[in-house]
Amino acid sequence: MSKQLTEKKSIFSVLGRSPYAAAVWAIVWKDLQIERHTKQTLSVMIMFSLSTVVMFNFALETNLDAARNVATGLLWATILLAGTLGLNRSLAIEQENRTVDAILMAPVSRSAIYIGKVLSVTLFSIVLEVALVFIFIMFFNKPLWRPQVLLILVLGTIGYISAGVLITSMTIQTRTREVLLPVLLLPLSLPLILPAAMAVASYMFPQTPTWGEVQSPILLVIIYDLLMITTGVMSYHYVVES
């Protein structure tokens, strides 16, 4: 048996392909295929975001200045809440028909499964954010279509989804998962969202801020991302096997 295993592993070496990367890509590919067929995750996230923005726009219609002032916070709040919907949906798919068992029985690292899930939900969230930026420009007339702003949004999303996949994997089997996820995830995301919102807010003025002005919040976001990814990679097998 061990000989057979060695033979199978040597095929990877011959192909010059990383088994870890192949496992990550398998998870991402599968999630993209499911989304291609069902369009359930993205459509739910986008519809939720659109209705939230429209609702706030009408609520703040009488005070346009106030609306513009809260735009950055509203943008992040919408991303976070839509993100919880995406996370729940993406992890719930694995509970239907217990496909999670089939995945866990594959000879792949648990951290590869974690990274794959983080990547796929992050991809969905980035698509959502591009749509959201356009919606916000339309409703609040803010200069959001800037590479720096998009970069901060992506960095913030990576940290949020990294923490989210870990928490969702813990809560997904509970009956109160829809309630538990935001209750646990939102407080955990505060150290990420505060600097991320500050950094985005700096770009809401006509003049572009210098690197020195946004350096601290952006570095905090990057540190949070690295911390969450490391925690996820190191602890995911405990989460799914306990």
Partner: protein, 240 residues
């Protein structure tokens, strides 16, 4: 091929498996029977590397668990009463995903061959959610054997199948036996399990209470043995 020595599994204070000893030889087909709550599924999930034992030794193909789970996973396939398939993906995409996950070579050819073997080649592009229970179970076997495992674990694979689908599953399992796979199956259908396998093992309250080789007893005698060892008057089909 499968060796369990003094296997214990507790959930908190509740002991589910209480010192199970079992040896399944290479190429052998063993059926595990017992009443509900006897610990059959827990035992199967430990062998499938999905659960860690509380104590005891588990050796699969000589590899100890849970320490060498990654090596063992390459060599086991699980067919459960749950599909372990994505209803939103097509039959071909489901197998393609598992071929990628197991990093098999010649993935497209393997998928085609596996679908052909279970008679689903014509339904390759159809979503699994449109399949009948029997078709899903055939696809489940294709998924579980795609990486050509040495050991096939079957957890109540006949649940929900009509007679035709059950016959088809029988022939698929016979084919898997002919390939020399070691098979461990849980079933509530005592006679069916008895007829298919080389040996039936009775698990009661977390312990193996009796092992009976097919040549040692007739099906009717086996039902009596089962009743004696579980305290349940046996019908051909028990539990649920």
């Amino acid at each position: 091929m499968i060796e369990l020595r003094g296997l214990v599994k507790n959930y908190g204070l509740h002991a589910v498996l209480r010192g199970v000893n079992l040896h399944v030889k290479k190429g052998e087909f063993v059926t595990l029977v017992g009443t509900n709550g006897a610990g059959k599924t827990t035992l199967m999930r430990i062998v499938a590397t999905l659960l860690k034992p509380t104590s005891g030794d588990v050796l699969i193909g000589g590899w100890p668990l849970p320490g060498h789970a990654d090596q063992v996973r390459q060599h086991i396939g699980l067919v459960s009463h749950q599909a372990l398939l994505y209803g939103d993906l097509t039959a071909g995409e489901n197998l393609q995903f598992f071929a990628r996950l197991y990093q098999l070579d010649h993935q497209t050819d393997r998928v085609e061959k596996a679908l052909k073997e279970v008679g689903l080649a014509a339904r390759k592009r159809d979503p699994v959610s449109t399949f009948s229970r029997g078709m899903i179970q055939r696809l489940t076997i294709a998924r579980a054997t795609l990486h050509e495992p040495d050991i096939l674990l079957l957890d109540e694979p006949y649940t929900g199948l009509d007679q035709d689908a059950a016959h088809l599953l029988d022939s698929l399992l016979e084919r898997e036996m002919d390939k020399g796979r070691t098979i461990l199956m849980i079933t509530h259908d005592l006679i069916h399990g008895w007829n298919l396998s080389h040996r039936s093992v009775i698990l009661n309250r977390g312990k193996i209470v009796r092992e009976v080789n097919r040549g040692e007893a007739s099906p009717a005698e086996f039902l009596d043995i089962y009743a004696e060892n579980t305290g349940r008057r046996a019908a051909a089909r028990v539990g649920g």
